[in-house]
């Protein structure tokens, strides 16, 4: 038997006032994979991420993280059992999320941002938490910035602190919500290299993004989402070079019309 996928989403549905933001959605993310989730604004990408961290409670469907049910499960008798708050909190560190606005805690230094959740949530001894925190921050090139408060850091540095904070919890999966949107365009390359370096150590990632060029560059697989469903998914190359779904074609046309050099299919060469 093969190992279960790191993330398995099945039949996930979330309605806001009768409108389905996420509509009967299925998605698997396997170990070491980077999946980019693209789609027009309001297609439910962010709602999906919020459901995956249980910040938004899905109305229906199941989430499994490394084979373990998260939030609710189907018991042997065929009855759906909702998990208690404690059970949900216990699995949450396994799903690291980097928010669009990073949401660092401004009253703590960069290092303390990374150390605090390890001590509070995982109960690690402070010494060990500090050691791991320093290690993560140093790996992300923040060795000189550890004792700064977030407001004294640039956007890119803040983002890396947020990544370190999530990584220090030893997650099985990292979620990124629009990692390029809150940064200066010149920093996009920096984010890309950070994500690539995570991929090198085998981290599994689900990246929600508007930037199609970024998606094409970073991801192994692209999933196109519209009106709460995933309409098409496949290897990054194929999706962009030969979209089948008309709505995806439309979306790509629109995005490319605005930024003609965003996806030079020929310039992307992931194998090199």
């Amino acid at each position: 038997m093969t190992a279960p996928p790191v993330l398995r989403v099945s039949a996930l549905t979330k309605c806001f006032f009768g409108t389905a933001a996420v509509d009967d959605l299925y998605l698997d993310v396997h170990e070491g994979e980077i999946v980019a989730l693209i789609g027009p604004s309001g297609c439910g990408k962010s709602t999906l991420l919020r459901c995956l961290t249980w910040l938004e409670q899905p109305d229906d469907g199941f989430i499994e993280v490394t084979g373990k049910p998260f939030g609710r499960e189907l018991t042997n008798g065929g009855v759906v059992r909702r998990h208690s708050r404690r059970e949900i909190d216990a699995l949450r560190p396994k799903i690291g999320i980097v928010f669009q606005q990073f949401n660092l805690w401004p009253h703590m230094t960069a290092l303390e941002n990374v150390v605090c959740p390890q001590v509070v949530v995982l109960g690690r001894p402070r010494v060990e938490a500090v050691r791991r925190g320093e290690e993560q921050l140093a790996r992300l090139g923040l060795a000189e910035r550890m004792d700064r408060h977030p407001r004294a850091l640039s956007g890119g540095q803040q983002q890396r602190v947020a990544i370190a904070r999530a990584l220090a919890m030893d997650p099985a999966l990292m979620l990124f919500d629009e990692p390029t949107s809150a940064l200066d365009p010149e920093l996009v390359g920096e984010v890309l290299s950070v994500l690539r370096s995570l991929a090198e150590v085998g981290m599994t990632m689900l990246v929600v993004t508007h930037e199609i060029g970024f998606a094409a560059n970073v991801a192994d697989r692209i999933a196109f989402m519209d009106r709460g469903r995933i309409l098409e998914e496949g290897p990054a190359h194929d999706i962009i070079a030969a979209p089948r779904e008309p709505r995806l074609r439309n979306f790509l046309d629109l995005v490319l019309a605005n930024r003609p050099h965003a996806i030079p299919g020929t310039r992307i060469n992931k194998t090199e």
Binding site: L55, F99, L104, H107, P117, V121
Partner: protein, 239 residues
């Protein structure tokens, strides 16, 4: 008529006793009221309509009746449920109830003013609601809580004068006694006014120090110019 403060000479101990009780009653009401206020604020912020409704009812009930009526209801109402409390205790409880509604609103507003992402990022990483409140929310709102809480505490301390109407021997009650003995209302009330003023000044000064202490860490980071910081960090990166 002559202004003759010497008349009060024999009555100073009585007035001071009353002042001391005012301070004690206010201090207890502050502690009990704040604890209850925080609890009510937590209820008001819980998901689901039931706790929110309960907190809303609590706050609206206590805010919308005159304090003196609240005192009468507590003092004369408790014996109906078989609880007989001395006037001072009943009065302190009524005072605590009264401020707790306002403290709850202060705490609730301070928490709501914090970006929601702060609490959410703490929850998403696995902290329980209590842990998120303690490690992420509370340290950020403490400083903002001090000025409005001080205002309310001063108001509450002054409102404690109304406890005289259920025979709690605090400052105002004693002043009425002294006034009855001396027939010198102006002298007595002028003296009592100065004592209230003094107590208020002490509370205000205490709160100023508290604000400075609680805010020490935050002031350090706020006083730095963020634009300059950002510029320096960018330059440092280039180098």
């Amino acid at each position: 008529m002559h202004f003759n403060p010497a008349l009060l000479f024999d009555y100073w101990p009585l007035l001071l006793q009353g002042a001391w009780l005012t301070v004690q009653v206010s201090a207890f009401a502050l502690v009990i009221g704040y604890a209850a206020g925080v609890a009510v604020a937590m209820f008001a912020l819980m998901p689901g309509w039931l706790p929110r409704l309960a907190a809303g009812l609590y706050i609206e009930t206590l805010r919308n009746i005159p304090f003196i009526i609240l005192i009468f209801v507590v003092y004369y109402g408790l014996p109906f449920s078989g609880i007989r409390l001395p006037a001072t205790v009943a009065g302190t409880l009524a005072l605590a109830l009264f401020v707790s509604a306002y403290y709850a609103e202060i705490v609730r507003a301070a928490i709501l003013a914090l970006p929601r992402g702060q609490f959410e990022s703490a929850r998403a990483i696995g902290m329980s609601p209590v842990q998120a409140m303690r490690h992420v929310v509370a340290p950020q709102i403490l400083r903002a809580l001090v000025p409005p809480s001080t205002n309310m505490t001063l108001t509450m301390m002054k409102e404690s004068a109304v406890l005289s109407s259920i025979t709690v021997p605090e400052l105002t009650y004693q002043s009425l006694v002294v006034q009855g003995n001396t027939f010198a209302p102006f002298e007595v009330f002028a003296a009592v006014a100065s004592i209230y003023w003094l107590i208020a000044i002490v509370i205000a000064e205490f709160s100023r120090r508290l604000e400075r202490r609680v805010g020490a860490a935050q002031i350090e980071s706020i006083n730095r110019n963020p634009i300059a910081e950002r510029y320096l960090s960018l330059v440092a990166r280039r180098a």
